[in-house]
Structures are given as C-alpha cells and as structure tokens.
Symmetry: C2
Subunit: 304 residues, 2 copies
Amino acid sequence: MELHTCLWNDVQAFSFSDEDLTPIVTRFPALKVVRHTTHQQFLDQAHRADLVLTWDFESAWYAGCPKLKAVLTPAAGNDWAQADPDNRVDLIHGSFHGEILAESLLGAMLFMNHKMPDMLLNQARTGWDRNLQTTTRLLANQQVLIIGFGHIAQACARLIESTGAHVTGVRRNLEGAQASASRLEHIDKLPELLPQSDHVVLLLPETKETDRFMDSERLRMMKQGSYLYNFGRGNSLLPSDLLAHMDHLGGAFLDVTEVEPLPPDSPLWHHPKITITPHSSCIYREYKELFITEVIARIAHYID
Amino acid sequence: MELHTCLWNDVQAFSFSDEDLTPIVTRFPALKVVRHTTHQQFLDQAHRADLVLTWDFESAWYAGCPKLKAVLTPAAGNDWAQADPDNRVDLIHGSFHGEILAESLLGAMLFMNHKMPDMLLNQARTGWDRNLQTTTRLLANQQVLIIGFGHIAQACARLIESTGAHVTGVRRNLEGAQASASRLEHIDKLPELLPQSDHVVLLLPETKETDRFMDSERLRMMKQGSYLYNFGRGNSLLPSDLLAHMDHLGGAFLDVTEVEPLPPDSPLWHHPKITITPHSSCIYREYKELFITEVIARIAHYID
C-alpha cells in the first residue's frame, strides 16, 4: 500500500519533513510513504495512492485516484480539502486542535481581562500606574459565552472552566452536541445570553450560514465593557460592524479576519482596544506530532 | 467592642469605603466600626480599639493599644504591618491572595509562552508573520519551577497544573509545606532543577535571606530560551544580574522590581524581552471583598 503526502505549508510549523513522518514508517513498515513537494508531482502518481495526507485536495482529483480510500488533512476547517463528490473516499479532518487552541484562547482572555494592552502602554511610557486595573475582575467570577460549540470549543470550555469561570456554549443543533460540564443553549437564546456575558468567543466554521453572523444587532447586545474574541473564521465578523461597536466593548482579540492577511491599511490594526494575531492560534511545535499520532490511529484499519 | 480601620491606599482597588465594610457591620451588629482616614486620627483613639484592620501598623503603636486583641491586614507580605514586640496581640495577614495572583501569573506565562511580545510588534508594523511562533510549545507539555512555595504558590500551582503543565515547587523548609499534587523539592536541588525548567517563577517574600536570591549563578543555570517571572518581591532579583543574562533567556516578566516605582531611567523598561507590570498582580475588584470575607471568619472568636 502507498501513502502519499502533500504536507508543505508556508507556515513552518505546519510543513512536514521526512523526520515528522518517521512514526508512520516505524508503525507500518510495509507501507510505502511517498512524500511530494508539488501538487503536479502528486497528480502524476495519484493513481497509485491508497491513502493521502494533505493540506489541499480538490474535488476533481478524486477521479484520478482509483485506489484511494481516505484523505487525511491536518486542517480543522473545510477550507482547503474538498470532499469526494461521489462519496467513495473518506475525508478525515484533524480533531486535535482543541487542546492547542484552548491555550491561545485562555491566554487571550487573561490578556484582555487583566488589561494588558493598557499595561503595555504603561510600560512604553515608563509609567507605574497601579490604578489601570481598578475595574479588573477575576475570570473565575465571570460568564463566558462560546458561539459555535463543536469539539474545539468543548476543549476550550474545559480549560476555561478550570479557572472557575462559567462557560455557556451555543450551537444551532443541540442534538449533535457531546455531553459536557458546560451549559449548552440553542443559538436562539443569544438575545438573552449576550447581555449577560463578560467574554464572547466566536468559534464558528466558514459556511454560508456563518457569513456576518456576529452582525451589528448582536454586537449591540453585548454587555458594556465585555470582550469579543474571534478564533473561528473571519467571515462571521465584518471589520466595519466591529468598529462601529467598539465604544461599548472593553476590547476585541482577533486571530482571524475577513480578509487574510489583513490589509496594511485596515483600521483594525491601530485601534487601541483591538489586538490582532495572524491566524496563529494553532501554531505550536506540537501541531505536527499531534496530527501524525492521530493519523496512525486512524489509518490502521485501512491497512490491517 | 470597637473595630478600627486604617484602610486607605493610593491604589483605588485597595482603598476601603464604608460600603466595603458593610458586611462586617451586618454580621456583627453590636460591633462599633470606627473608620479612620489618617494615622494620627487612629492613634488618638487607639486606646479604645479591640480590633484593627489596617495596611500599616508600627511596632511602637502596640503600647498605646491596651485593649487590642488582633491586627488584621490585607497584605500578604510583612512589608507594612509589624508584629507586636511583646507578642500579646495577634497579627493576621490576608491569605486570599493565591487565587487572585494565580490568574495574573497564568496570564503572564501564556503571554510569554505564546510569544505575545513579538505578536504585538507584528501588529504595530501591520504584519502577518505566521512564523513568529514556529518554536512555541504548549504549556501543557512544559516544566514549571516555583521558587518559594507557600500558600500563594500552592494556589498558583493548582491553576497552572490544570493546563497539564508539570509544576515543581521548591522551598527552604519542607516540613511546613502542605500536601499538594505538585512535586516539592528542597532549595538545594536548584542546580538540578533550573536547567530543566521552561518557566521559573519567583514567589519569595522580602527577607534578608531572599536578598539577591536569584543571583548571576542561578540565572546562568536557567535553560536556554526559558522564561523568568518575578511575582514575589523585588529584592530577590537585581536588574543588573537579570540584564547580564537576558541573551540566553526567552524573556522575563516582572511584576515587582528592586526599587518601586521602577525609576524611569531603568534599562529594564525598554528591553525587548522584558515585560513589566506595576506590582499589580493582585489588583482586582474582588480584592476588598475577599479580605472582608476573611475578616468576618477570623474575628468571630474575638467577639463571641
């Protein structure tokens, strides 16, 4: 059997080397691993592939892969790898992102909650202003709302709850939700939940339904001084909507934006209450290792 | 009985109003609460005080307080309220700081670990550099060393461990230590522990023994790229020692400094790998409430 890989990426932490693939070779010695460095190279040999590990996969490519059983992609979202239109080949997304993203999100929440943007300005002006945090509250006593409550959000909720904070997750479909210590509500409850929440986290996937989900009306419902985080996809929050409501928010932390990279002339960059990271909430050295561990568990039944 | 208070402070979050004292009045209606706004005012009436809540108390003042049974201070350290030289009056320090400081410390650790200083520079130059975090590791997989392992450190350890990180506490006297999930070692083990730790946290009180505790020799033992935090007292780490070792450290986060306020001409302010907060790790809106709750529990047996 042959496993073909198309696992290069502009982000170094997401670009796999021969060494990163070693655990697969060790676990399945009979499996032939073919590592590609261009899509053309893969397409030329695609007819021999039984399994593919890839960042991208176009739906048209399935026709040229008669032996293919499964496409495995590290990506959590459906942005890059497309499903088989004939539904013959399995498309398996990585499901390890929650434990990684949770640390980035909790870090962002403690950063905003502890007024670190003000503290860093205080440092820049060599100040010793001990009254910047007069209104700071402990996360332990606050209400956190997570919009889009899939497996990534559930891992985030577990970590956030370990501080003592109260987490409520909302989703469109309550039936698919796993049991969790968190409170779970239907998305229809947002008009009641948004005004009570100290932190609102967007963890929505990119679909037509999530376009501009966090619109002007919902932003307006947010509590005075509360914080907004987007760690899902940029399509759910338009910069113009957010900027129009920054006065009553305590701040916003955006890891994703409507257009990426965020254009240099975007007014988001220099807003004093907005912190921006370059879609990097999952960029950790552990990323590749976690994916390979998951791959080994998932491909066993295709091979044995 | 009379309870006298000297609870003003330059830090608004630490300055108690009549309203902040209400729970005491409600719980002990027979207790007369006398709120002072200067030390002279207190000293003039000190002979009537049975209990004192105060930030400062000088050892000479005990002689003028014949009825005094206990001095309760919100401060965790012995910096402001001095003990009774005759050992007649109880001096009771606040013990609620751990749960507060833990959030500030965890926030600082996630801030440094996720390379937020670089990310904020990236934002300032409207950059979208997704390779800033190539070497970032999850806190969940790291070793945290806390030097000075009293009740504050133990509360911090509990929160940090909820991320999955491995915490080792060191202290001079192992006998006084409470049971804890954390690994506990004697301070003599530092030459072995420092080179293995990804994060080193100083939570030492200010005493003669802790002067320059984290000296050049110990700083040199720290692991390449590791982070140093001082959330205890400034006397344990001299700026000149720290600056001489910044090359091999990943960064330092200082909430306390040798001289406070840190002088405007200190080179610490502008070092790119050093983040400074103005001794504010416990400045939260909950501070006063937590102290009053503790006071109510502790004064009951003096009154009833």
